[in-house]
Amino acid sequence: MLPDSQLKDIQGFVASGYDYAAKATYFFLQFKDQKKSKEWLEKIIPKITTTERWPVDENGHLMPPKVVLHIGFTHAGLAAFGLPDSALYSAPREFIDGMANRKHILGDTGASDPENWEVGGPNNEPVHAMMLLNATEDTFADAYKAHQKLFKESKGGVVVIREEKAFREDSGREPFGFSDGVGQPIVKGLVFTSKPVVSGNIVNTGEFVLGYLNEFGVYSPTMVVPIETDPKNILPGFPDPQNPGYRDFGRNGMFLVYRKLKQDVAAFWQALEANTFAPTEKGKKAEVLWLAAKLMGRWPSGAPLVLSPDHDDPSLARADDFLYERDDPEGFRCPIGSHVRRANPRDSLQNISWGDSIHTSNTRRILRRARLFGESLFPQSAFSDENDMRPVGLKDDGVSRGVHFFAINAETDRQFEFIQKIWINNAGFNNLYDNKDAYVGNNENGDGVMTIPQVPVRRQVSGLSRFVDVIGGGYFFMPGIAAMRYMVEC
């Protein structure tokens, strides 16, 4: 566990999804005037939620904050605050380049091309920062008003160019109907864990937060500022005095990936329905659900197929301590090409040895956070109700729905971009021939396939198209509190 002094400096998004603060608004900001923006940021800093430990009431219950605020800056946003050039260009290239320019690596083609985006694309207003306001139902309205007032007080210095409303289902499901946010890495410095974990799921703090050792045993590249620009000694130096003349701007910061993902729920379930053989309506529903679970690698409740191959088992909804190569090498339970086995292959990468595979997987982890937009197409209880409501015969209602997807990592090119390019959108992933990720892969022409290994012969699901479109996004840096104080002063 990190010391309290550091916990107070790290934005809280890395430690929690703040599920109880279900209502959210994301403000996309532009800084028009440096002085006014600095004044505004100075007022915002005390409101930012950190990883500081939650207080406990007299009954011993934790008291989490009711209003939760986080902020991330784009490269242009940091420049707007007047960071010196040598600091701005010490940043990683993908952050400088921005998400829209990385479309070839991320597979944002066709309808997902940044040209068509709602926010963050070349045809949209340039984004300088993204402020994430989450709050409980009873406190949200007041918090929202308070922030609007602050924007107004900046007198045009800080302009809101777009607002995104977001919410969370009580069931914790995303629009396709699956439990979201299960299977997260455990950040070593942010939790106490006493239970041993066989899947090697505990990951070094430095994989997510800058300034700590990562899974390679080194520090991930940080951003530095010349020492003379920090006369008040706001920023820390380095753990090892190797870079004289510089201070660590990146310390306790992290890179935030934001993507607005629109899900074509009806098309997804229709495509699976077209792949069924069952003659009866009831059998069809069960088969569609089974196919969906095979494509995902987990059942809608979140129960992993490795542990529960034949039926959904809500008691295993949060189960995450399992391996693939050891428990299911051929993929008879959880297909090699399933979404969860791609996004975190654990010990199953065939191109390297067993131990190396866990290491590689752990150096490619991201922390995921999500909120929804657009009303659900069918009730979220559908899958748990035996009598009814499995998604067969769905029709699109024209509503735009999906998730606001966030990923936190220390090196976006090594973590998020790698997963996207080498694992999700790679048809030859792990000795497959023609399978992209069936859920989020860019199966642009509607001819995507997914192989389900079984005896005596594998089953192939065909006619898959791109069910998840990217309609907005950006790469942000979430600085530590001290770094933001430096931004005010510099």
């Binding site: 290239r93 070839h104 530095v224 065939q350 000795n431 192939q460």
Partner: protein, 448 residues
């Protein structure tokens, strides 16, 4: 007096083990061949796979670019890359014996700009040169920009003159020709289509059940299996010994001259102009990645003169290991590299390192501890290599990405096929070559 009676046990054991291993291998081969001769009811012996066309080779041509022509040359190469199907310069469909090829311009102060063409191929030198000339209507537009080139008619002489031998080479599948690999891809796709006609597993059962009448003579099957296990065990053991020796050597040379540990909080430090230049280079490398399953990596390194002999020695050991130490497709347990080789230039002053690999080289680097030792041992002898080597992944990455060259034109004979895919396709084709029994059909279906 000391007792001497129990001393010679170890050599005896070794002799016993190796004779069992060799014996098993011979019996296994004999039984395999013999069992084909036994006709069973539903079984027709299959034609063996077409013989492969010998060992893979490396062709590297280095020619001086005429002064001021380097931009025009790069433009031509990029324009070919952007229009592979219908460009007036190279007709890729006519290229048959090349696995991977690259065209790029390198530069150093002494020699100026030079055009490097480097490929891996099967066959004879003269044949592949003729093939390149035939497939390249734009020979003059490409090599015509080099001083040594004197026209299409003299291309073979030009090639002989500008040829540079490889000093170290690794091939994932040294004996597979591009055509053999493509054939196996075709066999697999065909079988996949057949399997696709049985969407319902129940239907396949009928087909499988009809197969159980086919069976081998049980005694000989057992002999074949047991001897097969023993000989593969012996092979693995031999490789293990060789690998251990290689590991020890690599570790020794990797540590000799490298700092044990440097914990550097790393950031890109320098003047904004230097930083911007480096970032621009990295972004260009990102854009230079191919749409293929494979990518190329090319780097020109200045060899430290006092380390030249050491580098050559390591390359020799490395070559021995690649020939006898690794199972097919594997470079020290890593199954992503199709080929890797060094070409020594200018009498040992510098070397070109070329690799063809699956996916994304820089992102996988640092993951493989054993490969890292080998890389450290080799790169250690090169100017500019960070003193902490691969132990400080960030510094290593920054160095290697900075030194990596932009390659305007890259060719792959099987652009969708990973090393793992080739291993699997080989197994599928091999299964077909065997007698079809219940086991082998089941295994075959599992592989599809």
């Amino acid at each position: 007096m000391r007792q001497r009676d129990n001393k010679p046990k170890l050599p005896l054991k070794l002799i016993a083990i190796s004779s069992i291993a060799i014996g098993s291998y011979l019996i296994n081969q004999w039984v395999k061949r013999a069992s084909y001769a036994v006709p069973t009811r539903n079984f027709q012996p299959r034609r063996p796979m077409p013989p492969s066309s010998g060992h893979q080779k490396i062709l590297t041509l280095v020619a001086t670019v005429k002064p001021g022509q380097e931009k025009a040359l790069n433009d031509v190469l990029f324009s070919i890359s952007n229009n592979r199907e219908n460009n007036p310069y190279i007709n890729f469909s006519k290229i048959k014996s090349i696995h991977f090829g690259r065209w790029l311009v390198i530069y150093d102060d002494l020699n100026g700009h030079r055009l490097v063409f480097s490929c891996t191929y099967n066959g004879e030198f003269e044949d592949v040169i003729r093939e390149i000339a035939d497939a390249t209507p734009g020979l003059d537009a490409i090599w015509g920009k080099c001083t040594e080139y004197t026209g299409r008619d003299n291309f073979l002489d030009f090639a002989r003159g500008s040829f540079m031998p490889a000093a170290y080479r690794f091939f994932a599948f040294p004996n597979e020709s591009p055509q053999a690999i493509r054939d196996k891809i075709a066999i697999r796709s065909r079988l996949q289509k057949i399997a696709g006609n049985y969407p319902n597993p129940e239907d396949v059962k009928t087909f499988l059940d009809s197969l159980h009448r086919v069976s081998k003579v049980p005694f000989w099957t057992a002999v074949e299996k047991i001897t097969g296990w023993l000989s593969s065990l012996a092979l693995a053991g031999g490789r293990g010994v060789l690998n251990s020796v290689g590991d020890v050597l690599a570790r020794f040379f990797a540590n000799w001259g490298l700092k044990p540990h440097v914990a550097t909080p790393y950031a890109l430090i320098g003047t904004p102009e230097e930083q911007k230049k480096h970032i621009q280079h990295l972004l260009e490398l990102d854009r230079n990645e191919t749409p293929f399953a494979q990518n190329q990596f090319t780097l020109v390194a200045e060899i430290r003169p006092e380390r030249y002999l050491r580098l050559r020695f390591l390359m020799m050991v490395g070559a021995l290991l690649t020939d006898y130490g690794y199972p097919p497709g594997s470079l020290i347990g890593v199954f992503t590299i199709h080929s890797l080789y060094w070409v020594i230039l200018d009498g040992g002053q510098r070397a070109i390192l070329c690799t063809n690999y699956d996916g994304n080289w820089s992102s996988y680097l640092g993951d493989f501890a054993r490969l890292a030792t080998l890389l450290d041992a080799l790169f250690n002898n090169v100017k500019g290599y960070p003193p902490s080597g691969l132990r400080q992944v960030n510094l290593f990455n920054s160095w290697i990405r900075g030194a990596q060259l932009i390659c305007p034109l890259y060719y792959s004979a099987y652009p969708n096929e990973t090393v793992l895919n080739i291993i699997r396709d080989r197994e599928i084709a091999a299964t077909l070559g065997q007698e079809m029994g219940y086991d082998s059909v089941e295994r075959l279906l599992e592989l599809l």
